[in-house]
Symmetry: C2
Subunit: 195 residues, 2 copies
């Protein structure tokens, strides 16, 4: 029954929870299931996470943080700001589309989780727009971009591309022409930032 008899740690519980969510979906994944997967009683899980909601929130955060980290590398790069911006937006869209298309059920599961955890999502979005702000500011510094306020402009760029990263539009990402529509949108946005 005990898959591994190592110490019960928050990390192991999170891994087990992801697995249970993957198998059962967001509606049927229970704390009892997670405990069973770990070969412990559900009381033990509550020692590490006060509530089921807190556990789900932690899983959501982990998942979002993985995306943030992948993109942070691009934002921190040292190429031309305009190219960096295009790369960053493409990477975000590609990552989302790959997740949504590759395992639709898992993506739906995480869409439910993000819907439940507005605070964590807000932090994630704040993180992403901070990355964008860094790129926009770099563009202003090199003279490639001209904007009144980099922070505001970065948020506008993020909002302009909502359709290509917000889960509520996932259905449209696989449609023929989506890539072209994305390219046209990025062109429009980049032109809007240029000096």
């Amino acid at each position: 029954m005990a898959p591994t008899s190592e110490t019960l740690t928050a990390e192991r519980i999170l891994e087990a929870t992801e697995e249970v969510l993957r198998r059962h979906g967001p509606a049927k994944a229970t704390v009892v299931d997670v405990a069973r997967a770990l070969g412990v009683s559900h009381g033990s899980v509550y020692r590490h996470f006060r509530t089921k909601a807190a556990l789900r929130e932690a899983v959501t955060k982990r998942w979002l943080d993985r995306t943030s980290e992948a993109l942070a590398g691009i934002a921190a790069g040292d190429g031309e700001p305009e190219a960096r911006l295009r790369d960053w937006l493409s990477a975000l869209f590609d990552a989302k589309r790959r997740k949504a298309g590759g395992d639709p059920e898992l993506f739906a599961t995480y869409s439910v989780l993000t819907g439940e955890n507005g605070t964590v999502v807000a932090e994630h979005i704040a993180d992403l727009t901070a990355q964008l702000t860094k790129i926009v500011r770099a563009g202003v510094d090199t003279g490639a971009f001209t904007v009144a306020d980099p922070r505001t402009a970065a948020r506008a760029v993020f909002h302009a591309t909502d359709r290509f990263h917000d889960p509520c539009h996932a259905r449209e990402w696989e449609r023929p022409g989506a890539q072209e529509e994305f390219a046209a949108l990025v062109d429009l946005v980049v032109r809007g930032l240029r000096s």
Copy 2:
């Protein structure tokens, strides 16, 4: 029982259906309810609409057409294209926000209906982007805008502003700062179109 004893017409059925949807919501509105509201048997309703889905679709179309018509006036105007574009986008956002904020339940009802009727919604969107294309083309003609292809650019503008007209973002329209975020986005988009 009979509210009016005029002939039973598709139009009267649609009005009654809107009323039933307003009262009962999308989940509980039945064809029997609509018939009862009209003082006829539900068989009579099926004489005018083949299925419940067709009835709901017709209601959805009516609702969307009202928005289209209001905007068509702006798109067909004769002011500066840039100002017309700003007016049009503001009118769309204002209309949506007013509907969502003014009667959230009714808006939720129509969100369900639009979710059910992808084809009608696609036509509505095609209509709106055609209006936008007209404005963009006018801008190209006056030399205010420079774009490779007005149709593509118009779609990009529509997609860029998705966050401020797509029902799945309705929750965010009433948040403080939404108006400023909208203004920043429109500025970005307009700059992207300019010559």
